[in-house]
């Protein structure tokens, strides 16, 4: 740890240069957020949103002016297609979940499930960008960047916003970009593997690096001495101290050697395993333990994901990849008391169509009219279901929650008023929720 380093006597690291101190608008319920993003569009009617009438009316022709079938050859007629998996009630609350998520189903008493989500675009790129930035076309700061900007960091040795993703998602690095917010708030990408953070591995032996840092600090102090009062130069000296600390602390975060077999088992991890969503979930717990403000986990990339046009059975391995690790994360956070001040968000960019051009088509198309997401942890009313879709899961029937409302609610839980969290850029005050967004009061504890 840096505090014990002999390299920087007298310098106590306080915070990352450029980060404002925490300045919540009101008492936050959540100090940290773990954002679980399932890439490609998870079918709501096969996972979180049971539709018995859809099963009963399988094969019935419907007429809909749907964005994914408009002017699409072969889609002149569309027919209802029954859910592919059985639903059962779970927990005290009795929330129904399909057999695709047997582990998460065991956590429903801790979850506020929203079955009435909807979004503004039916294209992966735009919907993914929208779910992350509130903008469906243009590059804008990411949710994590806004949270980092709004609340600052709790740990000077770690970035305040970390994204763990094995592959690049739709819309690329725009998903975690700080855009016009200061660069300190951009997501730091961690790719499971040998060097999870760029340049984190020392290229010289520690003693040599200490020698170099000591010489550099001496030269920099000499430089600063004749330029006293330049806070930027001072911050730069500290940034080397932080970087030195990160070299130790970041690998330590990703070293699970001291985790018990029981804990590893919760996440479905084998000892020594350094990839997989279980690895990402346990890393997320370890990151929030160390005060990282926002951790996002993306399960796959822009291909090989939940985009099951051709065959809904592709959902099976993808569900298996995330189900136990997410349930394990919730249980682990809860048992450590971390769930009380950590918000966990599960979402995807849109749902999938309850219909297709033939009832026997084995896939489902993009569906932005309705999908399911959930919140759990700090400030969230546990064991509830909010909103519902119509009898077939085509449209939201009650308590619609748009992505902007979802964002407003997340910011609210973090102690931030989405209308007051603004940044002046190009002559206007920008916010995550643009000109929209209402906090969903019903999911607040």
């Amino acid at each position: 740890m840096v505090a014990g380093s002999s390299l920087f006597p007298g310098l106590v690291s306080q915070l990352l240069a450029g980060l404002p101190a925490g300045r919540a608008h009101f008492a936050p319920r959540a100090k940290r957020i773990i954002f679980l993003f399932m890439s490609g569009g998870v079918s709501h009617i096969d996972t979180w949103d049971p539709k018995p009438r859809l099963a009963a009316d399988h094969g019935k022709e419907v007429k809909l002016n749907h964005p994914e079938i408009e002017n699409r050859p072969g889609y002149e007629r569309i027919f209802l297609k029954r859910p592919g998996w059985k639903f059962e009630k779970h927990g005290q609350c009795g929330t129904e979940v399909s057999e695709l998520f047997p582990h998460m189903a065991g956590c429903v008493d801790d979850i506020a499930l929203i079955r009435s989500m909807h979004t503004s675009h039916s294209n992966h790129y735009n919907a993914t960008l929208g779910m992350h930035t509130g903008s469906f076309a243009f590059a804008r700061p990411s949710l994590g960047s806004w949270v980092s900007y709004g609340l600052g960091s709790e740990n000077a040795n770690m970035p305040s916003f970390i994204v763990l993703a094995p592959k690049t998602p739709y819309a690329g690095s725009q998903v975690w970009a700080s855009d016009f917010l200061p660069a300190a708030h951009q997501g730091t990408l961690v790719v499971p593997g040998a060097e999870p953070v760029a340049n984190i591995a020392p290229r010289t032996p520690r003693s040599q690096q200490e020698r170099e840092l000591a010489a550099m600090a001496a030269l920099n102090r000499g430089h600063l001495a004749t330029r006293s009062g330049d806070s930027v130069l001072e911050a730069r000296l500290r940034s080397f101290e932080t970087a030195f600390g990160m070299q130790m602390e970041v690998p330590e975060v990703f070293d699970f050697a001291k985790e018990s077999d029981a804990t590893l088992g919760l996440y479905g991890l084998q000892r020594g395993q350094t990839t997989g969503f279980g690895w990402q979930c346990l890393a997320a717990r370890r990151l929030v333990e160390r005060g990282v403000r926002c951790v996002e986990l993306i399960d796959t990339g822009s291909s090989g994901n939940w985009d099951s046009h051709g065959n809904m059975q592709e959902h099976v391995p993808l569900a298996k990849n995330v189900d136990q690790p997410i349930a394990g994360l919730l249980r682990d956070l809860k048992s450590r008391g971390l769930l009380e001040d950590t918000l966990v968000v599960w979402t995807t960019e849109f749902g999938r169509t309850p219909f297709n051009n033939t009832p026997d088509n084995s896939g489902r198309e993009h569906h932005n009219w309705a999908f399911s997401s959930w919140l759990a942890g700090a400030g969230v009313k546990p064991g509830i279901v909010h909103g519902e879709t119509d009898e077939y899961g085509v449209r939201v029937a009650t308590d619609a929650v748009h992505v902007h409302d979802f964002h407003a609610t997340i910011l609210h839980l973090m102690g931030l008023n989405h209308e007051q969290l603004t940044f002046r850029h190009s002559g206007r005050d920008y916010r995550l929720t643009d000109v929209e967004g209402n906090v969903v009061q019903a999911v607040l504890a």
């Binding site: 300190a184 010489a215 030269l219 002559g427």
Partner: protein, 867 residues
């Protein structure tokens, strides 16, 4: 659908459409006023100012009870000016020469040297590329490459190096393709390339044509920010809440974009790029010149052959035809001649010619006409000539006694045996240059289906051409009596019938024999011309715009293109007088460009640019929101100075280099950066991302100073990029960083780390973040380590001992000699480091230890900041 801005509906009074004099803009906001001609203020410390701007600068400080910091030392000055103008540090030789030159003109000579260096355009071109949101990919869901956009990037660099007057710089970027016609011709390519400013607007979505309204928005918004310092994009959905820009104004500009053809970048929906503009670049001209000479020669050969053929006109005229028989053939009908055998008997002289002509009626298509024509010698050897049997599919000996003639004008032999027809087994065909008129022969003894025809066994058919008839001529090899049997039949279903005519043509045969070599020569010349045309060197392409059909836009309610409102004429914003684009004017880009530089917006255009130049040298603009001179932007810290500079700028003929000279020679710019109490110090700045990388490359001796050109993108023909598998690459190079490939949906990792420009939107100011991941870069990045090693190896040769090497490195990196303290620090460092790597032998050990020391220097603030 896409709600872009927090622009709430506000009522903005519509300003009267006035003819406004140049520079004058209606409205009360400071930025829209004509330039004032402020007097140069008097100052108490009259000895301090070196230039007129200094008087403004000092007067303001004196008002505030402050005073400027003293002049900085000459070393600092040279390092500062070299970075400011070229983005690179001064070399040791440049520094020594400057310090040795104690003449009063030494500094201005250094400024001139730097302004004349190609590195100047690479530094300042990058500044403009920030503003112009330049990128090498389109930014739609697959982020496809823009393989030709680099020409715009390089043109920007060249324009700065050439000191292209800024008003022309603006006009070319908006309307260069239209201005190209004004000449001179050697500027045409550059003017076209300059419209890359509009062309590189970001593309959106899966189908970029469906989301083109967002691309227009990008082009309008960037035009507003870059040239006018106005956030016009706000008016897409509503009247601008704060500035006098209405939705009507926005769609007035939108129509100008809609009347402009943007190049199609390719996207997921349809990957092939199109509508790029061919230009004649110098290298393109080098390739084309020899080809054009060949093409000219081939053209001339065709013309000569035609002239030779035309010379036979008199001979043809002399061969007056005598009609034997004629008739009309209804569609699908057949005619036999003679009606009785006796009528078909006639006497011919040897060499005399009989000609059967088929003439199309209203339409020539589907007029294939079967000809069963047999001529029999009634006496002598009783020889017989059959048309179908007389032709062989042997191009060398085509026609025997028979000839096929194009009779559109004078008869012309059809001597081109077209082997393509052989793809249908049994078919043979002769034609001229064109596909029709032609003769088709089935050489087989069974029927052959050919296109819509069924050719009977051993049969012949002719097809007339689009402009006239076709004829078959028989040149008699004998003198004496012959008998003729002729069956003419319409065999092409769907034709409209033909006329036929059988004639005697005395003397025609001899003329055709004279024509034969000329026709062959003509065919050869046409073939050569076609072959030459096929070898035309590929034109250089620019990702540039062209005119499209002029249209007016309809207002899109709340920015939603599916909800169109009233049509708005193409026009300049009311703010600038609101003049309409004349009906005859085309898109209106030329008018827009003129309004910005010669019309009502001229003074604003000048203010916006001098502010950028001031910002480039003083760290912060007089207006600190350089893309927003509207009411939501910051007012100028010194309005009089801003107007004074803008006036100077226009008066200098919009010379950017003249403005550099003025600002750099000021006492204000030459202040020291150290802070002393109330003194106003020069603002220290961090090197930009590009300057950091270029500096390391330069000092290590690995910088490739040649200009970058096209990126090594995959060939367009293989593109299949999607949002599932978008284009993604990082191309390594040792060229200056302005030439790095910049992608829209994936930031270049190095440029993103050190606050490079946002390639998605105009970047008016680079932020200067200080984050630990930058420190990690200096500690561990392979590039830093390799450059340190390269410099260490270079120093091994460049100086005799370690102290001298340190001295050299310090002078190259910091622009000053090393201190005694630094010598001591280094000596200890090298000893300790060498002790830690005992296994290495010399000179590797020295190079390794020196490289470690150089990494220390690379990481220091003194290198990274300019005082």
């Amino acid at each position: 659908m896409f709600r872009l801005h927090v622009c709430l509906l506000a009522l903005v009074p519509t300003l009267p459409l006035l003819a406004v004099p140049a520079g004058a803009i209606a409205g009360g906001h400071w930025a829209f006023q004509p330039l004032a001609s402020p007097p140069v203020p008097a100052v108490r410390d009259a000895a301090w100012p070196k230039t007129e701007p200094d008087n403004f600068f000092l007067a303001r400080l004196e008002q505030e009870g402050r005073h400027p910091a003293p002049s900085t030392d000459r070393r600092t000055l040279l390092r500062r000016v070299t970075y400011d103008l070229t983005g690179l540090p001064p070399t040791v030789a440049e520094l020594d020469a400057f310090l040795a030159d104690t003449s009063p003109g030494a500094f201005s000579a250094a400024v001139e040297r730097l302004l004349a260096s190609p590195a100047y355009g690479e530094k300042w071109g990058r500044e403009w590329l920030d503003v112009a949101r330049y990128a090498d990919t389109a930014g739609e869901t697959a982020d496809v490459p823009l393989p030709h956009a680099w020409r715009y990037r390089n043109w920007i660099i060249q324009a700065f190096n050439d000191d292209l007057p800024y008003d022309e710089f603006v006009r070319w970027q908006l309307a260069g393709d239209l201005l190209a016609a004004d000449g001179p011709p050697e500027q045409a390519a550059d003017k076209t390339v300059a419209t890359g400013f509009l062309a590189v607007a970001r593309r959106f979505g899966f189908n970029i044509e469906q989301d083109i309204h967002l691309t227009y928005e990008d082009a309008i918004d960037t035009t507003g920010k870059a040239f006018m310092g106005l956030t016009l994009g706000c008016a897409r959905c509503h009247d601008h809440k704060y500035d006098p820009v209405s939705t009507r104004d926005y769609y007035g500009l939108y129509g100008i974009l809609q009347s402009t053809r943007l190049p199609y970048s390719g996207c997921e929906k349809s990957p092939r790029p199109r509508d790029l503009v061919a230009i004649a670049t110098p290298e393109g001209r080098r390739l084309r010149t020899p080809w054009e000479a060949e093409k000219t020669a081939a053209d001339a050969a065709v013309k000569k052959a035609e002239a030779d053929l035309a010379a036979l006109a008199g001979d043809f005229a002399a061969s007056v035809p005598v009609v034997i028989a004629q008739g009309t053939l209804a569609p699908g009908a057949a005619a036999t001649w003679p009606p009785e055998e006796a009528a078909g008997r006639l006497a011919v002289a040897e060499g005399e010619t009989l000609q059967l002509t088929i003439l199309p009626r209203a339409n020539f298509g589907a007029d294939a006409t079967g000809l069963d024509w047999t001529i029999s010698e009634t006496g002598g050897e009783k020889r017989q000539w059959s048309l179908a049997g007389g032709f062989t599919p042997d191009p060398a000996h085509p026609v025997g006694a028979w000839a096929v003639l194009d009779v559109e004008k004078d008869p012309r032999l059809c001597l081109h045996y077209d082997a393509e027809f052989e793809k249908t087994p049994g078919m043979a065909a002769w034609r001229g240059v064109d596909l029709w008129p032609s003769l088709l022969v089935n050489t087989r003894t069974e029927p052959v289906k050919f296109q819509t025809l069924t050719m009977p066994p051993r049969s012949a058919a002719v097809h007339p051409g689009p402009r006239g008839g076709v004829a078959v001529a028989w040149q008699s090899p004998v003198g004496g009596a012959i008998s003729i049997r002729l069956v003419v039949s319409e065999i092409d279903p769907g034709g409209d019938g033909v006329d036929w005519k059988l004639e005697r043509r005395p003397g025609l045969g001899a003329t055709l024999e004279r024509q034969r070599p000329l026709v062959l020569a003509s065919l050869e010349a046409v073939k050569k011309l076609a072959e030459t045309a096929r070898r035309e060197p590929a034109a250089d392409l620019a990702f540039a715009v062209a005119e499209a059909k002029p249209v007016n836009a309809r207002i899109q309610k709340k920015g939603e293109p599916k909800d169109p409102g009233a049509e708005v004429p193409r026009k300049l914003p009311d703010l600038f007088g609101g003049a309409l684009i004349p009906d005859a004017a085309g898109s209106g880009r030329r008018e827009l460009a003129d309004w910005l530089t010669r019309g009502p917006a001229r003074d604003l255009t000048a203010r916006v640019m001098v502010n950028r130049l001031w910002q480039g040298h003083f760290g912060e603009g007089l207006v600190t929101t350089p893309n927003d001179f509207g009411t939501r932007g910051q007012p100028p810290s010194d309005p009089a100075l801003l107007d004074f500079l803008a006036g100077k700028f226009i008066a200098s003929g919009w010379s950017v280099k003249a403005m550099h000279r003025l600002l750099l020679s000021s006492a204000a710019w030459q202040r020291d950066s150290a802070v002393h109490d109330t003194a106003s110090a020069f603002p220290r700045r961090r090197l930009t991302a590009e300057e950091i990388r270029d500096t390391l490359l330069l000092v290590s001796g690995t910088l490739d100073r040649t200009p970058g050109q096209a990126h090594p993108f995959p060939a367009e023909t293989g593109w299949a990029f999607t949002q599932h598998g978008p284009f993604a690459a990082v191309y390594e190079s040792n060229r200056r960083s302005v030439y790095l490939m910049v992608q829209r949906t994936r930031r270049h990792p190095f440029l993103a780390l050190f606050d490079g420009a946002d390639p998605n939107t105009s970047t008016p100011v680079r932020s200067q973040s200080t984050v630990p991941t930058q420190a990690l870069y200096f500690l561990n990045d392979p590039f830093v380590h390799s450059q340190a090693k390269a410099l260490a190896a270079r120093l091994q040769q460049a100086a005799p001992d370690e102290d001298a090497r340190l001295e050299l490195a310090t002078r190259e990196l910091y622009g000053r000699p090393a201190t005694d303290e630094e010598h001591r620090l280094m000596a200890t460092f090298l000893t300790d480091t060498a002790a830690a790597i005992p296994s290495l032998t010399e000179p590797e050990r020295s190079i390794e230890t020196r490289a470690a020391w150089l990494r220390v220097l690379f990481g220091t603030s003194e290198l990274l900041y300019v005082d």
